[in-house]
């Protein structure tokens, strides 16, 4: 996991370093700046030009809590992250919660009722939302003045709903469910005692994947809804070819995604059904 995080940061740093115009900033083209000021700016950027040196210095400083300085926003990256992380955490957290609640409600009710008309209606709703780009969802929510976390929820909901619906339908066809029905068990007991426990492991794995989906959607949502979060910071840093915040955000996003996957693996390893 640590290797993947380090490689992720190195890949991001390499991409930025190789990007055309890396060593040129808009400030250097400002006619109000003197020749000495422009040279000072160039020297400041030149410190980052050697990728190996930049990466070594970055890691050494990061271990001491110093993630560098944003040249475009003119502030320490650490301050930017501390300031912006709560907004993203709230947006992604609420979005994930709402998306999962909606997906679970529709998938479970579909499994409970097992009515073809209901299945078709929910499938149409899910598929329609699935066909909308996350940026369009963000724009529509801005238009309707709705909370931005709904856009994240609508990105997560159709994918989880479809997966959970198919999973439950498949598990309902298992031989032990047929036996349970034959023994006269009620629909609630069949669902909660026999179908859901078998479905738990893949659903936990899907929860980890949904974190990655939500983080990805956070970029257009934050950029278009004007939310000052990590996604917007990554967006601004990428546009300004600002190495320090971009690498740090890359590492954080990779860490969060890998942490979600690790938690999911840990939970699954503790499930008796998963071992069977």
């Amino acid at each position: 996991m640590a290797a993947i995080v380090l490689l992720g940061a190195l890949a991001a740093a390499t991409l930025v370093r190789l990007a055309p115009g890396f060593d040129v900033s808009e400030q250097q083209l400002d006619p109000r700046l003197s020749h000495d000021s422009v040279e000072a700016l160039r020297a400041q950027r030149g410190d980052n030009a050697n990728l190996g040196r930049f990466y070594r210095q970055y890691l050494s400083r990061a271990l001491h809590g110093d993630f560098g300085f944003s040249l475009t926003l003119n502030r320490p990256v650490r301050d930017l992250l501390v300031e912006r992380f709560p907004a993203t955490a709230r947006l992604v957290g609420l979005g994930l919660l709402a998306g999962w609640l909606l997906a679970a409600a529709l998938a479970l009710s579909g499994a409970w009722f097992r009515q073809p008309a209901y299945d078709v209606a929910t499938a149409i709703v899910g598929s329609t939302v699935l066909c909308l780009p996350s940026a369009v969802l963000a724009l529509l929510l801005v238009l309707w003045k709705a909370p931005a976390c709904i856009a994240i929820a609508l990105v997560v909901f159709p994918r989880i709903f479809r997966y959970a619906r198919d999973l439950l339908a498949r598990n309902y066809q298992a031989p032990h469910i047929l036996t349970a029905h034959a023994k006269g068990l009620g629909p609630a007991r069949v669902l909660f005692c026999h179908v859901l426990p078998v479905s738990a492991a893949p659903l936990i794995a899907a929860a980890a994947v949904s974190v990655s989906m939500a983080l990805g959607a956070a970029i257009p949502v934050e950029a278009l809804c004007g939310i000052p979060g990590i996604g917007q910071l990554a967006w601004q840093a990428a546009l300004g070819r600002d190495l320090a915040p971009l690498v740090t955000v890359t590492v954080i996003v990779t860490l969060v995604t890998l942490a979600a996957n690790s938690v999911s693996d840990l939970l699954n390893s503790r499930l008796p059904e998963a071992k069977a």
């Binding site: 290797a3 993947i4 490689l7 992720g8 890949a11 991001a12 991409l15 930025v16 990007a19 055309p20 115009g21 598929s127 329609t128 699935l130 066909c131 909308l132 780009p133 996350s134 940026a135 369009v136 724009l139 529509l140 801005v142 238009l143 990655s212 989906m213 983080l215 990805g216 959607a217 970029i219 257009p220 950029a223 278009l224 996604g231 990554a234 967006w235 990428a238 546009l239 070819r241 971009l246 890359t250 996003v253 990779t254 995604t257 890998l258 996957n261």
Partner: protein, 268 residues
């Protein structure tokens, strides 16, 4: 469900045919400006009205659809070929090859797809010619979208490596490229086709996201992404429902791909 698939295929064929004939069907060129009538409502001359610069919206929709429908499959083909190469070799060779390829796949998959795409796109030049912007956008989609498919292909190739028919083929003296071309690739074909088909709607939506954020196809070339940017102005021009036509067409096309897709997945 079978009829739904027929309808979906018919919709895709009809949209593709109409967009391919954009040069004949469009009332004007996508870049022609009718300066006397910017932001015009639908009329007999302009069925979907004109945009802020006075360009015919129907013409831009037809040309934009053609661009997205031609290049998204091209990008999907590129990503599927990369997935076949990386995942196929890793799964077929196994051992260290598989571990190395899966580590690279994990690395790419650990970054959310849109995050990776937006970051890399923003690092490339933004002030390029429209044609170059089209190539950069769809090339990036193809080059960055291989990871998930590679994992699936790797699993498929590993299963073939352990299969009885491959052992039998080896026993008859087949080896090397002959084994790959005659035994492995034909058996991976359904899987590769499914991955190709899955990638098309994903890339169409990704291009739309990039276009809305201003990182997609550059003006004056139209694409679904650049056409959907007009939604930003809907708050001002509320009630102008014809502005939602590109979005409706996008949903129709991506939805049709999704319906056909379920069949491809089953076949794979």
């Amino acid at each position: 469900m079978r009829y739904a698939r027929y309808v979906a295929v018919a919709v895709l064929l009809a949209v593709a045919a109409i967009s391919l004939a954009a040069g004949y069907l469009a009332p004007a060129n996508y870049a022609t400006q009718f300066r006397e009538s910017p932001n015009a409502a639908p009329s007999r001359a302009h069925w979907l009205g004109t945009d802020q610069l006075g360009r015919d919206r129907l013409a831009r929709l037809l040309y934009g659809t053609r661009l997205s429908l031609l290049l998204a499959p091209a990008a999907a083909l590129l990503s599927t070929l990369l997935a076949a190469l990386i995942g196929g070799i890793a799964g077929y060779r196994g051992g260290a090859w598989q571990q190395l390829a899966m580590a690279a796949t994990d690395l790419v998959l650990s970054l959310p797809w849109l995050f990776l795409l937006i970051t890399v796109r923003a690092l490339l030049p933004l002030n390029v010619s429209p044609l170059a912007s089209v190539l950069i956008t769809f090339l990036l989609l193809g080059l960055l979208g291989w990871a998930a498919a590679a994992r699936v292909v790797c699993a498929g190739a590993a299963a073939i490596r352990r299969s009885g028919f491959l052992l039998q083929a080896r026993a008859t003296g087949a080896h090397g490229w002959r084994l790959v071309l005659l035994q492995v690739l034909p058996n991976l074909k359904p899987l590769l086709f499914a991955q190709f088909w899955i990638s098309i709607p994903v890339f169409i939506l990704s291009e739309a996201n990039l276009g809305i954020l201003g990182l997609g196809v550059a003006e004056p070339l139209p694409s679904w992404g650049s056409l959907l940017r007009e939604l930003e102005e809907l708050a001002v021009f509320s009630g102008e429902l014809w502005r939602l036509v590109p979005l409706g067409l996008l949903v129709l096309v991506v939805g049709s791909f999704e319906i056909v897709l379920s069949r491809s997945e089953v076949n794979a």
